[in-house]
Symmetry: C2
Subunit: 350 residues, 2 copies
């Protein structure tokens, strides 16, 4: 069985996550046990990935309500969590869902109800990802039936199990198809500047799915040489017209896929769709610390975590974390509800 | 004056280059003083950049003829140098040029004649780059006249002074325009896996040209937001139909430029054009060591050169060094002869 690690789990009532700022170099488990701890974990990308951010924000709100269950406590917790990262809509979606569940309750009942709602978000995420896996795997199976050889999938960033509570979004079809015995190989883009592709390499390695790391620059070349059969990426926000906001570099891959005739799919639960957002370019794009561009994290010769500066000392940098891929560049969106063309999601899934 | 460092220079009859495998972290000068030394310098990318590779190969052949001026010595030197790197056509062009000059001579006269020819290649490269600077700067001046603000140029890899004997190809117009007082800013792509963008940042810094480093993934986003006015890159080989083989990732930038309406120029001397190559996809694409993908070089906290592994230990990688950008994606090619559309170069410059 090809089973990836979980992104979030419960251990005797404690909410546990992996510190993804240290992966794949060190595997460290951390407990989310306070509002501030959850907010920091999201902000510093100890947890990342749109669905996992949503779940962690829900637990953060529940933890905040334990600390202060009043209306002002709820508002302050909401504001603190929402300020962590502006682009992934799942964060706002999860906060609203917990708030809708607790808003009418007496203060004394709020924390327990919020915790329950957060657990429900986790269960829902797991269920959604399993459904995404089934829908997406049928696309891979159809490709395999036509090609009759190993199917080469390319992905970007990490929209795997680590980006979710369990199972992944873009990688869910890969795991599902691999477990059905389909021969697969995944091209993993490094995803500078944060190198989340290494998280993908790590979890594919843990799940024993064949994969190969490439520089972000190499994806277009491989597509032009017929070495990619299908691209699947995740999403941080999908607008009502089917535009996709995802990790910076996604747009370049989508352009190359269109230019080379490679199908380009986006896998995300419908909680990633912002029905209030008419088109992708209206989404706020997070600009992160330039240190992420100027430095690279890895391990030194003795296997210890280490960081090197890559640029001359006076060099400045710019670090937009996401870009916008217009729906017309996307072959289909795979959600828990099925597969739809981007321009059809409003009619099909709203 | 905005004067970049030279890529190659003569010092009391010795041929000197900078060790670009150590830049920008350490500045070390090396002398090319043997055939094998020149071949190794090209192969290990101590020298890189199509025009500089050509010049170093010419000196390598001259040095080889000092060691063995016979026909078989000439053939062996040719074979050793040609085997170093397969993609840049300037290498073959320079070897052929030196051979044409020495082939009919007595063995005793060959080395001196070859050395003279190599010096002539250096002088020609410097002249060509100055002409490219003039032709390209007029494009930048026209943009500035229209925009009436700082002109934002994006480039990829290093096609600057360090990629040539002096002056650069893609950056020659930038230096020329800056010296005319045109306000400019350059977006520098990191250019994983070898990070030649850091060479560009270093030489732009030396020449005091404003610039900002970005991850390769960010170029499309910046173009989509109107933050890039023009892209200029170099080339390792241009086919007769105007297709451009250049550092991997160039193709993705060209696609984004077309999609966003940003002019995309390629600057290269006509020695980069392979008239015998009908189209770009016929060019051999070098696949380099996977270590380049799996490791990153930089400096540690105490400023010492250091290298980190970025991937989990068992991760495999793939490392194509170039890609092909079809001429239809290129607004114009800037050579020492002027500016021409890719489909016009055969008629205009052959």
């Amino acid at each position: 069985m090809h089973v990836p690690p979980r992104g979030l789990w419960l251990d005797q009532g404690r909410v546990m996550v992996l510190d993804q700022a240290l992966l794949p170099h060190r595997r460290v488990e951390i407990e989310l046990n306070s509002l501030e701890g959850a907010a920091r974990a999201i902000q510093t990308m100890q947890v990342r990935g749109a669905p996992l951010i949503g779940a962690c924000a829900a637990f953060g709100l529940a933890l905040g309500l334990r600390e202060d269950p009043s209306d002002s406590g709820l508002a302050a917790a909401h504001a603190r969590l929402l300020a962590t990262r502006p682009t992934a809509v799942n964060l706002l979606w999860a906060l609203r869902r917990v708030e809708a569940a607790v808003g009418a309750l007496a203060a004394s009942q709020r924390a327990a109800r919020a915790w329950h709602e957060a657990l429900d978000i986790v269960a829902g995420d797991e269920r959604d990802n399993a459904a995404i896996g089934v829908h997406g795997a049928s696309l891979l199976a159809a490709l395999h039936a036509r090609l009759d050889r190993v199917v080469n999938v390319a992905t970007h960033c990490n929209a795997g199990a680590l980006a979710t509570c369990a199972g992944g979004t873009a990688l869910a079809p890969v795991y599902h198809a691999a477990n059905q015995g389909l021969p697969l190989h995944v091209w993993v883009s490094e995803t500078r500047p944060r190198n989340q592709g290494l998280l993908t390499a790590w979890e594919l390695g843990q799940a024993q799915v064949p994969h190969t790391l490439i520089a972000d620059n190499a994806a277009g070349f491989l597509m032009s040489r017929g070495e990619v059969d299908l691209v699947i990426v995740g999403a941080d926000r999908i607008s009502a017209n089917g535009d996709v906001v995802n990790k910076v570099g996604t747009y370049l891959k989508a352009l190359a896929a269109r230019d080379t005739g490679v199908p380009f799919y986006v896998a995300a639960p419908t909680s990633t769709i912002d029905w209030d957002c008419a088109e992708g370019r209206a989404t706020p794009i997070e600009e992160r610390s330039v240190e992420e561009v100027l430095q690279v994290q890895g391990t030194d010769a003795s296997g210890r975590a280490a960081r090197v500066a890559i640029a001359p000392p006076a060099t400045g940098a710019r670090n937009p974390a996401f870009d916008v891929t217009r729906g017309e560049l996307v072959t289909g969106i795979i959600s828990e509800k099925g597969v739809a063309a981007p321009h059809e999601i409003l009619r099909a899934w709203r």
